[in-house]
């Protein structure tokens, strides 16, 4: 019997199947469409993250599956001065590099937002440090910071400011500032280009109105440009802080965490302990210890900077 027959009282309509009901419902269809992406995220993001967290609670070594040891790894790290040095280094590295990247990036964005000759050329060239593979630029910096052949030392010696090469990567504090300099160089393009995009969304007439209202150029910057730029600054700097906090490649190529762990970041220490050191559980625990810092940065950005009354919808 065909399904298009007229419905009669003695033959109540059959309940449609689960799939039919799902396709007909708005939420069900949405769920179906999201399923592939959901599975993808589950396998490639949630699973590794979950595995990492789990490893942190075990005493797994390379070549031997571990057993659950609870918080032992964390207790061990709590008493480990090298771990705390890495935490200090990471915070130091992140704070100074991020502040400098923000200040220089904003300055560069303001310059590029003006009517310059060859504006597009400069905008393209500014991206170069970001486009170059990290390892490649790190190796270039390795030469720049070389203890004997450093170009900086050579120039300063030529001018006569110093009489022997600077030991950039051999001295703990020199090494810290050197890796920060390299990170700043690499990170500026991202900040500058993103802020430039933000600057271009600010209508020129607002600056003109402010000029007529009697604002000096500095007041136009602090009272009009900067407040209007805060939403994009919040997003850009959140990303910048996350990138910097989790940096690995630059340090690993330049110093491998040396001298005497002075430039070890949490990411490099985690790798050092887990892979060359073989202590997978301990390495995982160091990596997991980064999570609270990262969450704090994200929450600060979300609640402190991104939500502004004047941006929200009607009433």
């Amino acid at each position: 019997m065909s399904s298009t027959s007229v419905r009669t009282d003695d033959a109540p309509r059959r309940r449609p199947g689960l799939l039919t009901r799902m396709i007909e419902s708005r939420n069900g269809l949405g769920f179906l469409f999201m399923l592939p992406a959901g599975i993808f995220l589950l396998f490639f993001l949630t699973y590794p993250l979950g595995l990492g967290v789990w490893l942190g609670f075990t005493d797994t070594k390379i070549g031997r599956s571990g057993i659950f040891v609870g918080l032992e790894n964390y207790r061990w790290l709590f008493d480990d001065p090298v771990f705390w040095l890495a935490v200090f280094n990471t915070l130091f590295y992140t704070v100074f590099a991020s502040v400098a990247k923000f200040a220089l990036g904003l300055w560069l964005a303001m310059l590029l937002n003006r009517h310059l000759p060859f504006k597009n050329f400069f905008r393209a060239i500014i991206l170069l440090p970001w486009v170059v593979p990290t390892v490649l630029s790190a190796m270039a910096f390795w030469w720049i910071f070389d203890s004997q052949f450093s170009i900086i030392s050579w120039v300063l010696m030529r001018i006569g400011l110093i009489d022997q090469p600077i030991n950039f990567l051999g001295d703990p504090w020199n090494a810290r500032w050197s890796v920060i300099a390299a990170n700043i160089w690499r990170g500026i393009p991202f900040v500058a280009i993103s802020l430039l995009a933000g600057l271009q969304t600010i209508p020129q007439s607002l600056n003109e109105a402010a000029a007529i209202d009697g604002a000096t150029p500095w007041q136009r910057f602090t009272k009009v440009t900067l407040p209007l730029l805060t939403p994009i600054i919040a997003v850009v700097m959140t990303f910048s802080v996350l990138f910097t906090f989790t940096d690995f490649q630059l340090i690993y190529v330049l110093t491998r965490g040396g001298p005497v762990n002075a430039t070890h970041l949490m990411a490099t220490l985690s790798f050092q302990r887990a892979i060359p050191g073989g202590q997978l559980g301990e390495g995982a625990a160091i990596a997991v210890a980064m999570i609270p810092f990262l969450l704090a940065a994200i929450l600060f950005s979300f609640f402190g900077l991104q939500r502004r009354k004047w941006q929200q919808g009607n009433d």
Binding site: P203, S205, L206, E208, A209, A210, A211, I212, D213, G214, A215, Q219, K223, V224, P227, L228, R308, K309, W310, Q311, G313, N314, D315
Partner: protein, 352 residues
């Protein structure tokens, strides 16, 4: 309040000159409208008056002070922008008081000046809102309020009504004119809409391709346009223009031989190539001139008739209800006293 003098002002971008020596006298308290098609230089001129564009040559005076090299904030002007240019991160009250705050005024003093301005504009209940919560008309009022609070020598308006819908535009037009009558502040208003110019201005400046075509009171411009450009630009529907020559008997002969009545011929000579201009309302039904009807557009109070006369497309407006069907002929008369004759070559008006 102050007078404004624009004296042989020129503007070049590189080798391209966009304003070719513009001179406009503006009296104290006058409402002057700069009108012209887009690209005629009217906005550039206003921005030069505001100090947002450099003046290539010539002088601009506000009062008796040459302001050529003064920055905008020292010119004692206020400007209303086409996109309103309200600061999105400030409330209505903060937007209106921004200039006072920059000038270092205390909070109570600012509130004291913002409140009356807000009341004039009917914004008193919106002072704590942010611009994005306001409608287009309200934003426009805030922009005007920001200008009023400053109590400047001169108000500048740069196409302030272009972003509003048609109905709001008409009511804001009245509101701005009302405001000017109350405050009596010298106002320079830029628009491309000749209706706005006609209805609001004490004095209209018609600009075209970087020159001033004519300066005058709205009805003077309407009744005695100096040239074909002004004749075609002012008035809606536009003046009908029929090419032809003056015949020996004193009538106007259109290109196809149709005879049209002429009153005063001014300096026009017989045989000279001319353009015959007639406003739509100078035509009356029931005459001897055949008008071939193409379209009739009844609006209720009037009927617009688009058709051909003397071989040219023309438009007439009649108080009567015209029922001629398309293709039919409507005999019309033309008031000879309302006829304009222009030299076809130079475009200059020849009748008195």
């Amino acid at each position: 309040m102050a007078s404004v003098t624009i004296d042989d002002v020129r503007k070049s971008y590189g080798a391209v000159e966009v304003l070719h020596g513009v001179s406009i006298p503006i009296e104290e308290g006058e409402f002057v409208v700069l009108v012209g098609p887009s690209g005629c230089g009217k906005s550039t001129l206003l921005r030069m008056l505001a100090g947002l564009e450099h003046i290539t040559s010539g002088r601009i005076l506000i009062g008796d002070r040459v302001v050529n090299d003064l920055p905008p904030k020292d010119r004692d002007i206020a400007m209303v922008f086409q996109n309103y240019a309200l600061y999105p991160h400030l409330t209505v009250a903060e937007n209106m008081g921004f200039s006072l705050k920059l000038a270092g005024e205390k909070r109570p003093a600012i509130a004291e000046k913002v409140r009356p301005a807000a009341e004039i504009l009917g914004l008193a209940h919106l002072l704590d809102r942010y611009p994005r919560m306001l409608s287009g008309g309200q934003r426009q009022r805030v922009a005007m309020g920001r200008a009023i609070v400053r109590d400047p020598q001169v108000f500048l308006f740069d196409e302030p009504l272009s972003n509003l819908d048609a109905k709001l535009r008409v009511s804001m037009r009245t509101e701005i004119k009302n405001l000017h009558q109350r405050l009596q502040t010298t106002t320079v208003y830029v628009t491309h809409d000749q209706i706005e110019a006609m209805t609001m201005a004490d004095k209209i400046v018609v600009m075209h391709d970087g020159i001033v075509e004519q300066i005058g009171a709205p009805l003077d411009l309407y009744d005695r346009p100096a040239n074909l450009f002004v004749a075609g630009f002012i008035g809606s529907p536009a003046m009908s223009m029929i090419p032809g020559t003056l015949a020996e008997d004193g009538a106007f002969a259109a290109a196809d031989g149709t005879r049209l009545p002429v009153g005063d011929t001014g300096t026009a000579r017989a045989g000279q190539p001319l353009v015959y201009g007639v406003r739509p309302e100078a035509m009356t039904p029931g005459g001897s001139i055949p008008l071939t009807v193409e379209v009739t557009e009844p609006t209720g109070s009037e009927t617009y008739v688009v058709g051909r006369m003397g071989g040219t497309a023309i438009t007439g407006v009649f108080r009567e209800r015209i029922t001629v069907s398309p293709g039919g002929t409507l005999p019309i008369g033309i008031d000879p006293a309302a006829v304009h004759l222009f030299d076809a070559a130079s475009g200059q008006r020849l009748t008195r």
